[in-house]
Symmetry: C2
Subunit: 115 residues, 2 copies
């Protein structure tokens, strides 16, 4: 029988491992203040669309983010209902705002809006 506290360590370690990638960590910080769609992330990170899609899948697999289709696009947002969200929010609050990434997108006319 496994010790339940060891499982907590285990789960926390895999959560931290997921957040321990600069692309995913920035994604999470960004999503804390803005919903974003895949193509926006592609523009922000200057990375291929599949690479972005794979990062988002990892975040979604453990339900750190949610997706919602709006018109042509699928928007991702932080799942504030996640059991570990308070813990995650704590981590994200230690990071500098990444809003300039979105501002730059807007400046280039690449920001998607669905109003």
């Amino acid at each position: 029988m496994e010790d339940t506290s060891a499982m907590d360590i285990q789960r926390t370690a895999s959560l931290l491992k997921l957040l321990g990638d600069p692309t995913r960590l920035t994604m999470m910080k960004l999503l804390k203040s803005h919903e974003c769609c895949v193509c926006e992330f592609v523009a922000i990170f200057n990375m291929s669309q599949p690479a972005i899609s794979q990062h988002l899948r990892k975040l979604r697999d453990i339900e750190l983010v949610r997706e919602e289709r709006k018109g042509q696009w699928i928007f991702f947002s932080i799942n504030e209902e996640h059991e570990d969200y308070p813990f995650i929010r704590n981590i994200l609050e230690h990071l500098p705002l990444q809003d300039d990434l979105v501002t730059n997108l807007e400046a280039k006319g690449l920001r998607i809006s669905c109003e």
Copy 2:
């Protein structure tokens, strides 16, 4: 308003990556309440001595832990002076105590003490 002591995304990501390993995360949690030497970790994690040594080196490389020789042994402790220690402490406080690992060591007579 965001916390003023904002951490660099890149540096935070590599810190989280380091902590995102169950062995190292447990080590850090343990070190928060007990100094431990390498051979104690070997007994606790049931892992080879070089494996333990390599994990500790990673933690020491970014100065999360300090080492101090006491007699034959080298004891490791948490570096509370680390710039990011408050952040790290926050993470560790989210974890269940791992003191039973040390208690079990004592029960087996494997706990090293230097008095």
